[in-house]
């Protein structure tokens, strides 16, 4: 039974990942007074891309060719460690959030290498921006996870998620709300949403993430896009687990609550994208530092309380 549950949740994660950005696009369209694309549009886009042939730039080498599948592989490996509903992921051990963070960091490293392998000025600039923002984004994640493990007393992601409950909220409301805030800002940064990056822009000089995949085509591009959807799912899971922490020990109701948490997170991301403008590139590190200071404050709140 356990194996079936795990198989089911992996299936759900991988098949539902493209819906979340679809929800964001729909929310943005409604804010703009338009009908908007269907929530399932990204599935059709992925299908279209997979059926196309690939073109490699003449000046690129082996790294460019192997980057896209590797990025997807590492991101998928992180995704299967994430717990689902009240269930553990495929793997769960003490300190597994470090593994998640480093898998994602390694896939980012491969992405940067592949962008530089194309020897295009735009992609080089995007790679340098991405590397700079990664430096500021990593501490936010670690600080938030440290605080969460201190509150719950657990060191694995599954342990943390299962210990989160409404009672914990009542006791630690300020700390948990600060952590939610900093993880939400991290979500927006890692999935290249406004205010960090504009996913709908066509202006290469302003792009951070999409400019690095400008030269990918066909199946490679589908892999890269799908990896970014999985990344959104991973970070959104953290936010969802904190904001909707009820556990009823019944698999299907827990899964339903978890998925509605993901839904609300996507809607919140869509609303933020519709009402905020994108900040200047110079200001992005400050924004991330602000998220870091929020998580540091949460940590100190938690540490002193005990």
């Amino acid at each position: 039974m356990e194996n079936i549950k795990i198989f089911f949740q992996i299936l759900v994660i991988f098949s539902l990942a493209p819906i979340l950005p679809g929800i964001i696009n729909r929310v943005k369209a409604k804010f703009a007074g338009r009908q908007g694309r269907s929530i399932f549009q990204l599935y059709f886009d992925l299908y279209k891309l997979i059926n196309r042939g690939m073109v490699y730039p003449k000046v690129s080498g082996i790294i460019f060719k192997m980057a896209a599948p590797s990025v997807l592989a590492f991101t998928a490996a992180s995704a299967v460690i994430m717990p689902f509903g009240g269930q553990s992921g495929l793997l769960s051990f003490s300190g597994d959030f470090l593994l998640i963070a480093y898998f994602l960091a390694f896939s980012r490293f491969l992405l940067i290498l592949s962008a530089m392998d194309t020897s295009s000025a735009f992609e080089g600039m995007g790679a340098s921006r991405e590397a700079q923002f990664a430096v500021f984004a990593e501490p936010v994640f670690f600080m938030s996870m440290l605080t969460l493990s201190r509150i719950t007393g657990e060191t694995s992601v599954y342990g943390i998620f299962s210990k989160l409950s409404p009672d914990l909220w009542i006791q630690n409301a300020p700390v948990l709300s600060l952590i939610t805030g900093s993880l939400f800002i991290l979500l927006l940064c890692e999935s290249s949403r406004v205010p960090f990056d504009d996913p709908d822009t066509h202006l290469e000089l302003t792009m951070i993430h999409e400019v690095m995949i400008l030269d990918n085509s066909g199946t490679d591009l589908a892999f890269m896009l799908y990896a970014s959807y999985l990344k959104f799912w991973i970070y959104a899971s953290f936010v969802s687990a904190i904001i909707l922490p009820r556990h009823s020990d019944f698999f299907f109701s827990d899964s339903f609550i978890y998925m509605s948490g993901l839904f609300f997170t996507s809607v919140a991301a869509g609303v933020t994208e519709s009402i905020m403008a994108r900040v200047r590139l110079l200001r992005v590190p400050q924004f991330l530092l602000a998220a870091f200071s929020i998580s540091v404050m949460a940590f100190v709140f938690q540490a002193v309380k005990g």
Partner: protein, 481 residues
């Protein structure tokens, strides 16, 4: 004052080359601005003509016979930069001392790679080249940045990809095709260019159009200004990813274009202004329809655009970005909203107050030449245009909308100016001894302002380039003709 001048070709002073150069630099040092500076090929040689707008509002003009080598005045008066390059390209005259003697439109089979590019030396300097093939739906142009990381040291803009040879074509085709061709010099400024052409023909025939026709012309020009400014503000907010204004302004611009179509059947106002007046008349029913549509579109625009000035994240992107100081703007002689945003008082409607702008007043603003100023100026002009249109359409006088155009004066010249939505449009026309047009020169306001964009990017962030480009919103094909 009249915003056109005409006279016999003999009236243009013909000076000696050195006297010409001295007089030109004298006038420019007193604060005059060059309206047009061009070369005409005659059998005897090449003549240079210059038309200047003095600070008093007078237009001064003189000419000389050109040698194959002329001293360049660009190092002292940068506003002559592109004019000298254009003369050089068309005639082969070398302007000695010109800092960047590249071709302007790459006629005669040259390409952008045959120009020279200013390079900054250094280990970590990198060059970013954008265009002419790029990801937007705007026109092709080549931008070369010299950068250190994200900081831009220098931007060089090379255009010419849209060169169609309009100036030559216009005088060689049938007279009936002249107006449609001139309207397409810069497609989104059709009404501006058409009106300037009409002023020239009316000056050459000494015809005075009726007040009704000039009010209708004014309404059409202001509608063009409204549509483009609203579209620009929407595009600017789209560039900073502020979706509410971007989406609404796109739709509202369409509504204004539809109002223009009510006037003449064409959304860009083509074939509305003709020599002698306007082609189509309006009756009371049409005026009521136009006013009600205009009112509702303006209300929507006010609510959409006011959001921009209240959003701190938007203002944070707009303010202090792409600054062109007043000093630089005066040296380059920026025109239109870009010039006014840097603090130059250059609205031709205010300077000349020609018909129908006799009561035109505008409030002076203290602006510092950043993207916010250029956006806010557009907002002020939107409000002004709305009031003007309502004023004219509500008190439209009776009269003939079109008058007969007779034959042109022989051996004459005419220059006409119009404040288009981008700025100062200037056409110059010469007629020969048969009364036929022998020479026609078109100057779109973008000809002055492209250097402004290059200056705005100095020591700016490269990621702010699309925002600065949109804040100027210059015409590529108006420059390339």
């Amino acid at each position: 004052m009249k915003d056109f001048i005409t006279g016999n070709l003999e009236e243009i002073e013909f000076l000696d080359r050195d006297v010409f150069v001295k007089r030109l630099s004298g006038e420019l040092s007193l604060g005059a601005g060059v309206l047009s500076y061009f070369s005409v090929k005659y059998k005897e040689g090449i003549k240079l003509f210059v038309f200047l707008l003095k600070k008093s509002g007078e237009i001064e003009f003189f000419s000389c016979k050109a040698d194959s080598k002329m001293p360049s005045l660009t190092p002292f008066y940068p506003q002559l930069h592109l004019f000298e390059r254009e003369i050089s390209e068309k005639t082969g005259i070398i302007f000695e001392g010109h800092p960047l003697p590249n071709p302007v439109r790459y006629e005669n089979g040259l390409t952008a790679s045959s120009g020279s590019y200013f390079k900054v030396q250094g280990n970590e300097i990198h060059e970013v080249a954008v265009g002419p093939v790029h990801a937007g739906v705007i026109e092709p142009g080549h931008f070369r940045f010299q950068c250190l990381g994200e900081n831009v040291f220098h931007l060089q803009i090379e255009l010419g990809y849209q060169h169609r040879g309009i100036e030559n074509a216009v005088i060689s085709v049938d007279k009936k095709r002249m107006l449609p061709m001139i309207e397409t010099a810069a497609g989104d400024t059709s009404i501006g260019h058409a009106w300037t052409y009409a002023k020239i023909t009316e000056a050459l025939c000494e015809v005075q159009i009726s007040k009704r026709a000039s009010f209708l012309r004014g309404a059409a020009l202001e509608l063009e200004r409204l549509a483009n400014h609203i579209g620009d503000l929407g595009a600017l907010s789209g560039d900073v990813a502020y979706l509410p204004t971007a989406n609404f302004c796109g739709r509202i611009r369409g509504e204004i274009l539809n109002i223009t179509a009510l006037l003449c059947g064409n959304r860009f106002g083509r074939n509305f202004i003709i020599p002698g007046g306007v082609e189509y008349d309006v009756d009371d029913k049409l005026i009521k329809e136009i006013m009600s549509r205009l009112d509702s579109a303006y209300e929507d625009a006010v609510s959409a655009i006011s959001l921009l000035w209240e959003r701190k994240t938007v203002l944070d992107r707009f303010e202090k970005t792409g600054i062109v100081s007043l000093e630089k703007a005066l040296k380059l002689r920026l025109v239109g909203p870009a010039g006014r945003a840097s603090g130059i008082d250059c609205d031709l409607r205010k300077i000349f107050k020609s018909e129908p702008y006799e009561d035109f007043e505008s409030e002076p603003l203290t602006l510092n030449g950043d993207v916010f100023s250029r956006a806010y100026i557009r907002w002020m002009e939107i409000k002004k245009s709305y009031k003007l249109i309502k004023n004219w359409l509500s008190r439209l006088p009776q009269g003939e909308i079109t008058l007969e155009i007779g034959p042109f004066k022989k051996n004459s010249f005419a220059l006409a100016l119009t404040e288009g939505w981008r700025g100062e449009i200037c056409h110059v026309c010469f007629t020969d001894d048969k009364g036929e047009i022998s020479f026609y020169k078109i100057k779109d306001p973008s000809f002055h302002n492209w250097q402004g964009l290059a200056m705005a990017l100095r020591n700016a962030q490269i990621s702010d380039f699309p925002l600065c480009n949109k804040s100027f919103n210059l015409s590529y094909c108006g420059h390339d003709l």
